[in-house]
Amino acid sequence: MTMITQPDVPALWHELESRVAAGHRFAGLFAARAADHNLVTLSAHLAVKGEGEVGGGVDTLQVTLPLGATRYPALTPRLGAAFWYERVIHDQFGLVPEGHPRLAPLIRPGQPLPRHVEGYGMFTIPHGPVRSGVLESIEYLVETPGEAIPHLNMRVFYKHRGVEPRFTGLALPDGVLLAERAEGIASVAHALAFCHAAERIAGCTPPAAAALVRVLHAELERIANHLDVAVRLADAAGLAVATARLALHKERVMRLISRMCGSRFGRGVVVPGGVTALPRLSPADLRAELDKLVTQVTAEATALMATSSFLDRLRGTGPLTPERARTHGALGPIGKAAGFADDNRLTRPYDAYPDLAVPPARAHAAGDAMARLRVRWEEVESSFGLLRLAADQLAERVGDQLRVRCEPADGRALGWAEAPQGEVLYDLSLAGGQIARCHPRSASFHNLVLMHEVFAGDILTDFPFIEASFGLSVAGVAL
């Protein structure tokens, strides 16, 4: 990871643009105000493209705005992926990105925007923030002449909890707890990304046994999340038995997680410098449980992918073009389904992943809900493989050390982890052993904005399929 300071904003944008054109991935844009003075710094993160399969780290390009600056030239017209990032900066600092196409509040309350599409018979269907099922709060404003969806607006501020400022002043052990609750269904991935940043500042490496325990929990979390998406898709298609069967398997996975660590969401396991404890399940019992699960889940997935009435609803639904996935740097299964695969377990491996040989993602290009579900099943399959390997390796390391000292005082570093939704990125600054600033960026935030662009040719009844196939969490969007 390198920090590159640029003289002014246009120079930063130019560097960013040329590096994205060269194949690097735009991974986020944040602003921060230094604690002791009023200068605001813009930091853009770039996931470096490496040689072959293994990528480089994540670079940070940054620029300090002149004192008292209230405006800067917007990045969004040059790089569409910055669309939401610049709106958040506007919300947080009142800075105006000049030339931004639609500068409305994103994580702070604001008036609904005027309709994007005008014309005879056009109207808006507001959907949310109180949804029709047990779902997280978000408001979709569907602009439609009746069936087609020429434009979709999203208002995500309802759930904004102020997570980011809450990090400031916390000690590291408390920071992990907050990271686990930033996006509750990806607790392990958030804790990992946070701890990786802290460990990078401290220059420590978790022991091998701890790295394996981390992989076990991260992969079980992935399986639970992918099963949840499958449940929602089957439910949207009205397949009652498939919904029940998949929900049963998801519950089994969550019970396995709770048997291992006491929490159904794998919380309290990952800490800076390692993990708190070995799984309470013996490696042999864990292997037996995994063997049972993999048979059941695989059989169900095979049956689901042979149910034509279900597949008809997914095929061609909500397509994301490969070109758009690439320029946006679409993360996780959404990116993979559209031919843009940048899996951090493979390209920027951490913990035990370098030794476990994560299989590369199979090539997809359709980018539709079908491809996204296929990617998820492939990930579930590879997760089970990784789990078995990790469980076997852990069996040989029972009794090993699980934690090293990790008490960094000052510094700034990035940490990342591959959540079920895609890459989670933490930009952590410490001062005097406390968190001076922590900026979490979930895959949900980076990916959700793409929902604006996937309704070509789709109609209202496709909406639940598209939403479910994205598989994101609103909690991670409006932190």
């Binding site: 309350p109 923030p129 109180v130 949804r131 029709s132 099922g133 047990v134 779902l135 997280e136 709060s137 501020f157 309802y158 759930k159 904004h160 909890r161 102020g162 997570v163 400022p165 809450r166 052990p173 408390d174 707890l177 907050l178 609750r181 930033a182 996006e183 509750g184 269904i185 607790s187 949840d228 449940v231 397949l239 038995v241 498939a242 029940a244 069967r245 929900a247 049963l248 998801k250 519950e251 969550m254 019970r255 709770s258 006491g262 929490s263 159904r264 969401f265 919380r267 309290g268 708190t276 169900e300 049956a303 042979a306 149910t307 969490s473 609103v474 909690a475 991670g476 409006a478």
Partner: protein, 265 residues
């Protein structure tokens, strides 16, 4: 389609019989921190309060108390001072009729308040009988509470067997499940949903975040729990609570169970 008919018969009945029959998974669930059964006399009680990231531990006149409505189940107090604190076991028994009831050992004056709350709740739930429609509103959760409520609709917990249904419209709802720390953006929609429900109605604050705001209690973007926006009848601790815990709270709301876990009718 016949494929799925056959698949549906696999594994036989997976649904729990709880509360008619005990369920080991409900009893084994690791809940919020409590005081150890015979707590060692804390040598320096003032240190204890610093252990907790959410200030759930208080010490007054030498008495150590744990506010389970603030406990986020991080387990730090149990790990650091095992002689004083322990994990509570079991998913039930974490639903309280007053906010103060979640503080253990109980404060002297709460008993009368609990009796009054119980009488008020019983009067309203009498009308609900054994068919209850539930509306859920997320007021700034981390997403995990939604998973646990959704689990109730699955084959393992299957709340339909108990006459409990999730409804899309507040107009049909008898019970309001509220999750999340009470984000300011959701105050209005939450209040509108509550106002849209017909009387009698029961509000359940699901999880530590909804009860007290959890780690985000002091954030200026939350109200530190949902009690500031809607009148809460049942406070359910847990971060997130277990599906059994949520089910237990629902059954108390409809008067099927008493808060002490006994069948009421």
């Amino acid at each position: 389609m016949s494929l799925w008919v056959l698949r549906g018969l696999r594994d036989g009945v997976v649904t729990t019989r709880w509360p008619a029959k005990p369920d080991p998974y409900a009893d084994d669930w690791r809940g919020p921190a409590r005081l150890a059964t015979s707590p060692a006399d804390p040598t320096s009680p003032d240190d204890l309060t610093d252990l907790c990231p959410t200030d759930a531990i208080t010490v007054t006149d030498g008495t150590v108390r744990v506010d389970q409505g603030r406990c986020i189940l991080c387990g730090r107090c149990v790990a650091e001072r095992p002689g004083v604190f322990a994990w509570s076991q079991g998913a039930t028994g974490l639903a309280a009729l007053t906010r103060e009831q979640l503080i253990i050992p109980e404060l002297p004056e709460t008993d009368a308040a609990i009796q009054a709350a119980r009488a008020r709740l019983a009067m309203r739930t009498r009308a609900l009988h054994r068919s209850v429609h539930v509306r859920h509103v997320d007021a700034g959760s981390d997403g995990s509470e939604e998973w646990e409520i959704q689990a109730l609709l699955g084959p393992v917990y299957d709340i339909h067997r108990l006459g409990v249904f999730i409804t899309a419209s507040p107009r049909h709802a008898d019970v309001l499940l509220v999750t999340g720390a009470g984000s300011r953006g959701m105050s209005g929609p939450l209040r509108t949903t509550y106002d849209g429900m017909p009387d009698p109605k029961v509000v359940i604050a699901v999880g530590t975040d909804a009860v007290s705001g959890g780690l985000l209690r002091d954030s200026d973007q939350t109200t530190g729990g949902v009690g500031a926006t809607v009148p809460v009848d049942i406070w359910l601790a847990g971060s997130p609570p277990s599906p059994f815990g949520i089910l237990n709270a629902l059954l108390i709301a409809v008067g099927y169970l008493n808060p002490d876990g006994k069948r009421s009718r």
